[in-house]
Each structure stands twice: as structure tokens, then as C-alpha cells.
Symmetry: C4
Subunit: 247 residues, 4 copies
């Protein structure tokens, strides 16, 4: 991996190569990158991400490219940290900046699933207990109607036995990609947050007794409603992180 | 629905029509609208509302009109977002601004219940588990004495089978309206908050064993006390949101 | 009760009467009142009090007088809100300002217990579940060693049958006063906070299994330690509320 | 213990003695002390410490010296509060400033464990329930892989019967030192925080059913990963406390 101070030597050797290799950020890209930075910071502010986890968005015009921050805490991400990646999971012009070990979650899903526009990887605190026990997450209110179709489980032990639990190569990413559903950026942020909310409510409700979940028809109808209204909280969450930054 | 940019064309065609259709906000209205904005923001700050939910207040002098924000996150509501509605659930002069799908909760309750002065619709997090299990909410301390008369349940399945769970037409609103009790604006905010508090306490207390709830006589006496003192926390909560805004 | 605007008429009639009736605040009083204001705001910031509850401190030199705020949310109390009370539970010169219904908790305890220097009345959220079930609060770690001697219970039903649950007259205050222990102002704030902490920990630990509480000898030794170190967190908590005020 | 105002008399009597006794802070020390101050404030901001608890770091060049704040709330610690200690548990030049009763936790561990570089003592709220019941803490996700080797328990009753629970002399510190593992400063902060996170998740997951913990091999592999990435959240946490200070 080239070190950061080699940037000058690249610039001085060949401007032609530079032009073909550097990311040219169009106005459309700028909006996507802005939203991606917001998504990182919103998910941190909403306690879905902590110092770890990551969010990516597929390039608007080049389908085999996606945007993902260099390796750092999502709560600190700025536009200057966003790198362009290709489907091998490597940055197009990383300039030696560190990348997330688990970038293959993103590259392999984008590779196998052309319908996916954005991905969140988190250690969502209320969700983890459901990931390590056998209780399935189900939609407890209409805000998480999208859970009606079930939450797919990827069990890394089935693929690779004992590991450090990280999806740290394309093979593991490919195995994971077979599990997931399709999504845009405000949608993925909405779902990441309401997945966490549903998990918390479900856990609390289980203490009271048997839960009356949504039927699958109700979940389907509610999910269509969820998608129509994702911009309402998105405006609020963006406002909240803007306040935090200026405080 | 007219688009926002048609406002200019209305103004230029007929000022006479404009005068009869536009909301004339009196000093009394201004106070109510100010309180309504505060109610929205307090309930968000107190985590009773999140990006969703809404609060309304009946017009002080025209009983078949009420105030409700355009469709947006309650935590961002300002006086300029408050629209005047009639009992059909439509804004008097909406000027194309989006309205909440569930505005019929408000219009139908105001229609059928002349004693009701204000309404909150929320997805109060500690309350939802009680809504999806069979444990009834009961007054665990005197602050929620108002729960002594029980919490009415509206089950949408009984009226409309499988739905997206939203009260999105007058028929569903009418069915809901048959359930509820009467209330003013600081009272409804107090009750929304202490309903949440009671639910949290009750859920936590259930873990310890059998609960010694208020008797119905104690609840009745305590409820009268609740109503007498709603302005004490109202001043605090208003102060808190004012600090938030200037930070 | 005289109204606030009668202050001018008192001043103009008789300065002699005024001098004997008005509170003369000495430098010692000023320090106590400052600490009392801090105690109110700390307990609100630490979520032991919400919009309700109150804190008082006995007068430093006149044992049958005590300081208590006029009726308002503790989180908003300033030095100008502190009134001087006598043991009848009435303000010495209230000037029509509203008083807490439950001021008799304070007056009657100070009357019967000359060793008590300060009192907190709260609806401490993690403690309430223990008050409405039969699980006794016991010291789970050395920070709450003071619980080793048990937590006295005052059951209002035994004295007055069905009520609104408030200690709203001297008779009820007297019955309550028979239960309690002795305390200074930073001590009472420390205990109010660590009572809440212990309740939360105990409730959480009960989910894991049988708890290994402190023995009564350990509790006694730990309690002596608690008292010696109350100023350490007091400095932190005062710093925190000062930051809040200037933000 | 000499009082703070004796500093001037030392300076005026003998500069030679002063030079040999005073702490000379090198640039390396300055960085360590800066990190130690940050560690104190991060652990308070992250609710691992409250008004109590402490963090220390071994001297970079003099192995039988370590840095520890004078006795105060960790959330208020500044560079000027950090004292240099020797392995007897006494400050090299304390100038009468108060020291923590439990400084022997630090001195005895540094004495017996040359591999240890930093120590946190806390009353971590989600961890305490595990300390007072018989449920062992185990790694529930890869972030706390370091728990794979088990959490050693020090039971003070076995050494000293009934006490006030404090490690207030070298004998108790020595008994405790026999239990622990080796660690650097960002590592110890990471582990203190993720121990708390794991405890909370484990407690919540237990409510759902039988937990599928990491195997010991997975834990070992994950632990190596934890250590490699401790700087990622460290940058975030430092940023957060810096914001808090300037707000």
C-alpha cells in the first residue's frame, strides 16, 4: 500500500495517468457523498453504530463502483474521507489511506445484487442479543413492517469454522451476499434505526408475555408505507447532526 | 393537491377570496399555536415522539376547526408549519403542503367529542409493549392517577382486517374516536409523558414481583391532583426546549 | 395568601414590622442556599428528580427554620426562589408565592428529628418499583453501604386509607417522620443518587440470579467510607450543572 | 502530609534537593500524561466511571514509577492533577494533595506485573451485576474477544473477611495483583468500555434464551483483532470529550 506522502510524486510524474485514475466527482456524486457522510453521522448519533461499523452507497452512474469511507469511526467521517471502490474491494485511488477489513461485505453485495444501492454494517446493540439466541426478530409495530419477510441469518461458522468473526475476504463476502435484500440510502438508514427500535421493543415486550406481532399481510402493507415516508425522519436526523457539529 | 408555488397565483388573482379563505390568526390563536409548537418539541425532547407522531389543538373560538402541523417530524415544527383544519380532515388553506396520513385521528375525535381540546398521537416506546401483549397499563404511582379508569384499546383489525395499521380515512378515525377521554393541551402533554413513565416503571416493577397498584379511589384522588399541577413540569419542559434551540 | 404586589404596601406601612418578619440572609445562609440550589439542579440533572420533587436544608443557626423553594420544578430553582419556612410548614414571609403541597414532609421531619439537616423528596425512577413490590432494597456494592440498615417504608394507607398519596398535612408528615434517618446536604444528595444507582443495579442483577449482597458488617464499614467521600462527586456534579447553565 | 503552600519554602531552601525530588516531565511523559487525562475523561463520558474510580499509566522510562491523578472525580482531571507515584503507593512529591485510598490496586499490580502498562479501576454499571451473582461474563461478540480467557475474580472476603470493600493497603493490592492480565493505555480504555458493552448485551440476551457465545478459538482470533484496532474508537472518544470541554 503506497504511503500518503507519495501523492506528490504521482502528481509530478504523469497528469494523464492521474486524470484517468483519480475520482472525478460530479454534482450527482457530491449529493450522494453528502448523504453518505450524513448517514455515517446519523447512525452514530442514533447509537446504531459506535466507534465501529460502516455505510456505503453505490455510484450513481458507474454501477461497479461504490463509495465508502477510509477506515475510521463513522461519527467522524467527512466528505474528504470518502473513497471510491471497485468490486474487488480495493479503492480506485486510495493513496495509502487505511481501508476497513470488512469492505468485502460491501463489494460482494454490490457485485451479486445490482438492485442494492446502499449498505450498512453495524453492531446494533439491541439487535445483537437476537443474533446470538434463537428468538427471531419480527415486526412489532408498523414502523418495522419491513421485518415481515423475516431477517436472513449469515452464520460464518458454516462457511469457515472458527474465525475472528470478520468478513475479511471476497469469499466470505460472497457467502454473505446470498442472504440480503435491496435498498436505497435513506431507506437503509431508516431500516438500520427501526431494526434497532424493533429489537428493543420486542425484547421489552417479551417480558410482559406473548406478543401479538403484525400478520404478514399487515407487514407487507406497512412496509410499503415505511418506504413512502423515509424522508420525514431523515430531515430530522440530518438537522440533529448539523446542530451537534456547530455546538 | 395544489403545489406550493401556486401561492403567488392565488395572491394575484383575487384578494377577496384570499381574505375569506386564509386563516386569520388572532392573539388567542397565537398563544395556542405557540403552545402547540412547544408541545411538539417537548414530546420529541422527552422521547415520547420520534420522527413520527403528531399533536393537535382545537381552535379556541371556532369549535369545528383545529390546528395541526403539516406533515413533518414533530421535533422540527415551527409556527409557520401549523395549518388550520376542518372536521373533514382537510386544511382550510393548505397551499399544497403535505398533510399527515393519520389526520383523521384528530378530525374524527374533535367531531365526536366536543369536550376534547387537544390530541397526541405517538409511538411511545415503553407503551408499545403493553399495546402488543395482554398486560393492562395501571397506575403505579400517583403521577399517573389518570390511568385509574383504564386505558381504552382500539383494535384496527376488528374494523378493517389486515391494513397498514394507519388511521388513514374518516371511517377508521370515527371508530377510534369512540374510545377516548377529554383533555387540554398541557394536560395531554403531561399525560403522554407520564403514560410513558408509568409504562417503564410498570415493566421494570413486574420483574421484581407482584405490583401493589393504586386503588381506583386513590387513582381518582391522585388524578385530580395531576390536573391541578400540570403547569409545573410544563414550565420546565418549555425551558429545556428553548435551551436546545439556542445551543 | 397575600399577593406578590402587596410587597410595596408592606414596605410603605411599617419598616419595623418588615425588619422582624423578613428573612435576613447571613453569609452562612448564603452558602447553604447556594448549596440548596445546586442540590435541586444536581438531582434533576442526575434524573433522581424530574419536574416534581423537592429538597430542603435546615437553617444553620435557627433550628426551627428551614429553607425550601417555592413550588416549581427543581431543575429551574434559583436562589431567589428559596423561602424560609417554620415548623408549621408555612413560609415566614412567602409574599404569596405558591408552596409545595407536601412541605409537611420537611416541616414534620425537622420538628421531630433535630439531627436531620437536609431532606430530599423524589420519585426516583429505579426505586419506585421497589416501593410497589415486596423486594427490599439492599446494598449491592460499597457505594450504597448506607442501605445496610434497611430502607424504612411509610405506608400511607395505614394512616389514612385511600388518599391522593400526598403528605399534604402535618398529621401525615408526623407519621412519616417516625421512619427516617439523619443527614447533611451533600450527604442527602449522595444518598438520593446512590439509592437510585443501587436500585437499578439490584434490578438488573436479579435477572442474573441470586445476589451476593454486602453483609451488615461490610455495609457498616462501607457506609462510614461513603460519608467521608461525599465531596468528591459533589464537585463533579456541581461542575456539570454549571456547564449546563452556561451552554 | 505537607500542605500545598509549602511549595514556596521548598523552592527557597534548596534547589538541589528540589531537582532530585521533583518530577521532571519529558516530552514522552507529556504525551502519556495527556493520554491519561483523556482516558479519565473518556471513561467518565462513556459512563464506565462516575464520580469514582481511577486510571493510571506506568512511567515510560522508569518502570517503578507510575502516573495517577490526585484524589478527585475522573471527569474533572487535568494534567496538573497527575502525580508521579512509586511502588510503595506514595506520591514522589505529592505536596499534600489527597490521594485515592485504593492507590494500592495500582502500585501492587505494577510491582508484580512488569508487563502491565495501564490500569483502570471502575464500578462499571452493567458489570457489577455479574460481580455479585454467579453468572460468568463471556464474549458475546467479537468486540469483546478478550473475554475469551475468562474474567478473573478477586474476592476480598477470602483475604480479609468483612471490610469496607476497599483495597486500602499493599497487602490487599498484592492479593488482587495475582489475578490480572497485561495491557497498554488505549487498550485498557477499550477493554473497560467493551467489558461494559458486553455485560449489557449479555444481560439483555439472557432474557431471550440460551446464548451462543464465541468459542475459545474465535475469541482468541477476535482478541488479536481487537488489539489491532483500538485506535479507531480512541480517536472518536477523544474528539467527543474535546467537544464537551469547549461547549
Amino acid at each position: 500500500m503506497k504511503r500518503a506522502n507519495s501523492k506528490k510524486s504521482i502528481k509530478s510524474t504523469s497528469k494523464a495517468i492521474q486524470r484517468s485514475r483519480l475520482v472525478k466527482r460530479t454534482p450527482v456524486d457530491k449529493k450522494t457523498i453528502e448523504d453518505l457522510v450524513a448517514a455515517n453521522r446519523i447512525l452514530y448519533a442514533q447509537s446504531v453504530l459506535d466507534g465501529y461499523g460502516h455505510v456505503s452507497a453505490r455510484h450513481d452512474t458507474i454501477p461497479d463502483r461504490f463509495w465508502l469511507s477510509q477506515s475510521m469511526a463513522p461519527g467522524l467521517v467527512t466528505a474528504g474521507d470518502i473513497l471510491e471502490f471497485d468490486l474487488s474491494g480495493e479503492p480506485v485511488d486510495g493513496q495509502g489511506r487505511p481501508t476497513y477489513s470488512e469492505r468485502f461485505i460491501h463489494s460482494e453485495i454490490y457485485r451479486r445484487r445490482p438492485d442494492v444501492k446502499a449498505i450498512v454494517h453495524s453492531h446494533s446493540p439491541a439487535v445483537i442479543p437476537f443474533g446470538v439466541t434463537s428468538v427471531p426478530l419480527k415486526p412489532i409495530f408498523h414502523m418495522s413492517g419491513f421485518l415481515g419477510t423475516g431477517v436472513p441469518i449469515f452464520e460464518i461458522r458454516e462457511i469457515a469454522g472458527d474465525t475472528d468473526m470478520l468478513v475479511r475476504n471476497p469469499g466470505l463476502g460472497a457467502a454473505l451476499a446470498l442472504c440480503l435484500g435491496n435498498i436505497s440510502l435513506p431507506q437503509v438508514v431508516y431500516r438500520a434505526i427501526y431494526l434497532e427500535v424493533n429489537a428493543r421493543l420486542q425484547s421489552n415486550a417479551m417480558r410482559l408475555g406473548s406478543i401479538n406481532f403484525l400478520t404478514s399481510e399487515e407487514a407487507k402493507l406497512a412496509a410499503a408505507g415505511n418506504d413512502m415516508h423515509v424522508l420525514r425522519p431523515w430531515m430530522l436526523w440530518k438537522h440533529e447532526i448539523a446542530k451537534k457539529s456547530s455546538a
